[in-house]
């Protein structure tokens, strides 16, 4: 089983090809797989479809891949914090699909859970339902939403063992455990790589069955995207 452990982020993404579809965990800059993203920027792989709740800032996270023009298409729920992204969308260099956040994560869960589609009341009567089947359940309009899968999931956890069991910290959990279930290949970077047996089995958040490769991340910036006092932003 120790064949899941890879030496570093460059080795971990060795087979990510042009045009790949990739889930990227994290909410804003919290809990993003920053080492895998940097490796992908180094590798320079183009024409990517990225699925992530946000797009990061210009300097960090997915922003690095936008600067290098490696992204063709983005599926997200909120992209309001990145001016470069705005310019690329307006210039037609980048396709954008916006999905309500709860629908986005539920579509990914469905992809991992073998459910092809589900009905949700979210977005009924709004542009989020445009072009989609709708149906009434108990007097409530609902939208048919499809499962979402990807070629790769890049996730970040606080601790992980050699079997791929993962434990997240605080709100850095967010999309990571769900995305880990719904890709053909899931790559987890962790701050602390521990021996199998070191994690409490009752408190494993992502069982190792979902993780194909695991590595200790080379560097964690521990960046905070926003501060109450905007003057202090961008340390």
């Amino acid at each position: 089983m120790s064949h899941k452990v890879v030496r570093g982020s460059d080795e971990a993404i060795r087979d990510v090809g042009e045009g790949a579809t990739i889930f990227l965990g994290g909410f804003g800059l919290c809990g993003i797989p920053e080492n895998l993203i940097r490796a992908l920027a180094r590798r320079g792989t183009k024409d990517l479809t990225l699925i992530s709740n946000n797009v990061g800032t210009t300097e960090r996270g997915i922003g690095l891949l936008l600067v290098a023009r490696q992204v063709r298409r983005m599926i997200a729920s909120y992209v309001g914090e990145n001016e470069l992204f705005e310019r690329q969308v307006l210039a037609g260099e980048l396709e954008l699909e916006l999905v309500p956040q709860g629908t986005l994560v539920e579509r990914i869960r469905a992809g991992g859970a073998g459910l092809p589609a589900f009905y949700t009341p979210t977005g009924f009567g709004t542009p989020a339902a445009e072009g989609k089947e709708t149906r009434d359940f108990g007097g409530r309009g609902c939208v048919l939403e499809r499962a979402l899968r990807a070629d790769f999931a890049f996730v970040k956890a606080h601790r992980g063992d050699r079997d791929g069991n993962l434990v997240y910290r605080g709100t850095a959990r967010n999309f990571n455990p769900i995305m880990a279930t719904a890709a053909d290949t899931t790559i987890a970077e962790v701050e602390h790589l521990v021996e199998t047996g070191a994690l409490d089995p009752a408190h494993v958040h992502t069982p190792g069955i979902y993780v194909d490769r695991i590595l200790r991340g080379e560097r964690y910036d521990r960046a905070i995207e926003q501060r109450a006092d905007r003057q202090a932003r961008g340390r």
Binding site: F27, V79, G123, R169, A172, A228, D229
Partner: protein, 222 residues
Amino acid sequence: MTERSSRERIVRRAAAELRDGSYVNLGIGLPSEVADHVPPDIRVIFHTENGMLGVGRTPPPGEEDPDLVNASKLPVTPTEGCSYFDSADSFAMIRGGHIDLTVLGALEVDERGNLANWTVPGRLVKGMGGAMDLVTGARRVIVVMTHRTRDGGPKILRRCRLPLTGAGVVDRIITDLAVIDAGAGGLTLREIAPGITIEQVVDATEGRLAIDPEGVRPMEPA
């Protein structure tokens, strides 16, 4: 009235909606300030859709934890009894009707309780984030906003002109001028701010307003 005192009136009035033991999600911006006005005799558990119940205050500078942020990406602190969970569980909680109250901002609200607060076509779309889920799932949806646009135009309309966030979702609107309920029978004026007349509220509102049959009360705390 200054903009600052308008905002504070809205926020304090919204805080009076909080109930002991309730689970509440506050939107970005003005709604988030409601957390600073929780009445001292009650306990409210704040939810943030990125995966936490029991959200605490902003940490002092230098004590921020990058693994602990709210949906505005601002650093927060834990409280006793708090819990963390993933985004699927968080939105199951929202969509499943477990959040007692959400307070959000709006660009437009209309007679049918429709809400528009996520996009202005022609300008760049920033995305709806979790707003569509929140207005669909929360048991009670309160909109807080200034009664008029910066140009003095109405924001409470007969029909929303902007793309909707949710259809028929708003329960109550709290503005600097008034408290208005939305429901099956349309809009009903419940309370007015000190020094404001019913006529002034009606003039500032495009949507048709019924007057509370039990009488319009003063908006408190003023």
